[in-house]
Amino acid sequence: MDYLFTEEQKMIKDLARKIAEEKVKPVRAELDETGTFPWELMKEFAKADLCGLYIPEKFGGFGGGCLEFCIATEEISRICGGVGVTFAASALGAFPILMFGTEEQKSKYLPDIASGKKLAAFGLTEANAGSDAGGIQTTAKKDGDYFILNGTKQWITNGGEAETYTVIAMTDKAKGSRGATAFILEKGMKGFDFGKKENKMGIRCSATRELVFQDCKVHKSQMLGKEGMGFIVAMKTLDRTRPGIGAQAVGIAQGSLDEAVAYSKTRVQFGKPVSSFQGVQYILADMATQIEAARALVYATARTVDTGTNDISRDSAMCKLFASDVAMKVTTDAVQVLAGYGYMKEYPVEKMMRDAKITQIYEGTNQIQRNVIALALIKELAAKK
């Protein structure tokens, strides 16, 4: 299918694919097995200028947008979903700065993220606040020109490895959802430590860790957006990064289809390659069709984000929901096509199936995405009346 990419977008695709094939593929199984953070690979992406695709040239980036970012994320995830999310989560941490940062904050933080010298991360979730982000308990108490942070963020991707963190904390509990504020934190700040590193089902090379704040004193210049805008920062960020998770899902799914097709041509049963059986062909045809539909939705959503519109929640929820459900279905089917061999670690599809699952969970579970979509439908109807 021709998605009418520009020459630059094609270059990004080819380059990301080349690095994924040449550098990521040989190490993905070991990274998965040992749960090792892929620093070497992050350096490869940095050298190739892929880390700042969505960051303006003024701040050292490539000057592209969500689509460029999705193209690279998809290609990397096609080979390894864990490396893909490590790459993508840096954008999740950088987007709030890009959207809400002052010129000063942007010039301070974005160039190092764009060059790949530093990774970023985003901290919203807590032990008692997952889908219900309004339940966060981390506090930021005003103290003159400073805020004092206390609390623990949980399951933060790139935690401990990133240098730059966007963190949401309550500045005024009484105000409820208008009482949260976003802050930029730096690794190494006094009172900011890292807790437990999680042992996960999939995306195992990605770091998922606690951020622990104990009387962490941050200057008010580190505040992102206005006081009380924390949840708006978080929601607007997620609206723009969910296509990235969609792209990760499409990549993982495509990787598993590639493996399934190749395998089906070499595996002989009943004297024929299994690809000659209609039952197998139908599975492959459905996989391919679903992936293409998901990809088209992801690209269309990314392009919509790049128009600069604010009205994007519904579309980005749809693309993340659809692409991640496709990824789960398709990777499960890939294991089915490889059957017993697919269940074994010698083949990459079992890992792809494990990696796919997270795309239905993070950046909002797929139930929450459905809530967002349904809410948009109801609002639209109300607006017409």
């Binding site: 630059e8 270059m11 380059l15 040449e22 490869e44 050298k47 190739a48 200028d49």
Partner: protein, 260 residues
């Protein structure tokens, strides 16, 4: 520091076919790439530039398609590239090629270092680097695995069969590198954008003041009589096992056949 890198575009495989009629390589349909050792030379040049400053100029003698290889070199970090191309260069052997490249290098002007890959994977002669050094009348060091530069002096560790030696000389000098010297980088996105825009000048025989009798087929003392793939030798048998076991097996075979 000004570095010139001489590169060659080669078919993307060791397994090229030979046209039985003309005894030349069949290049049609085979993807072209930068000779792998030359990628190491480009990488080394870019690293030396990053460490010591200066400029990297990449040159190749070849047909217009070789521009592709030069663009890749720019994407990897070279500053400039020049294509040396003229119908009159066709059929050049290593002598005529060395002469032609040296004429082009003279036209580039001042330089401190000329880098080459140790050999091209299509011809495998390893003669062009040393040949150019002779035409330029500068010292040459072959098979480098490490290059250190200190002022006007270059110190090179060169790989020999079973050992390595360190050789030092004054620059300008010519050095050929082997694979172990570095890991060539992939072209970056910004590099590719620069390469896309880069204008690559084409220098003809006249522009580099090459003597017509020294270039192309006419200037080549080597005449290829025949190129062929030797037929596989029949009836061979591979012995397996530890060296001791193989020696015993070999001894028994030779005895069996009454050779000893």
């Amino acid at each position: 520091m000004n570095i010139i890198v001489c590169i060659k575009q080669v078919p993307d495989t060791n397994d090229v076919k030979i046209d039985p009629k003309t005894n030349t390589l069949i290049r049609e349909g085979v993807k072209s790439v930068i000779n792998p050792f030359d990628e190491n030379a480009i990488e080394e040049a870019v690293r030396l530039k990053e460490a010591h400053g200066g400029k990297v100029t990449v040159i190749t003698m070849g047909p217009p398609q070789a521009t592709e290889a030069l663009k890749t070199a720019i994407a990897m970090g070279a500053d400039e590239a020049i294509l040396i191309s003229d119908r009159a260069f066709a059929g050049a052997d290593t002598w005529a090629t060395s002469y032609t490249l040296s004429q082009a290098i003279k036209k580039v002007g001042s330089f401190d270092l000329v880098l080459f890959g140790k050999q091209a994977i299509d011809g495998d002669t390893a003669q062009v680097g040393p040949g150019v050094a002779e035409f330029l009348d500068i010292p040459q060091i072959t098979f480098a695995i490490k290059i250190d530069i200190d002022g006007g002096t270059i110190k090179v560790k060169r790989q020999l069969e079973e050992s390595a030696e360190i050789v030092e000389t004054k620059m300008p000098a010519a050095v050929t590198v082997i694979k172990q010297i570095n890991e060539p980088r992939l072209p970056s996105l910004k590099g590719q954008m620069r390469a896309k825009k880069a204008e690559i000048p084409v220098w003809t025989a006249e522009m580099i003041m090459a003597e017509p009798e020294n270039i192309g087929l006419k200037g080549s003392p080597t005449q290829v009589v025949r190129i062929f793939t030797p037929p596989p030798r029949g009836n061979s048998e591979m012995l397996e096992g530890t060296p001791e076991e193989m020696a015993v097996k070999l001894f028994n075979k030779l005895k069996e056949q009454k050779i000893i």
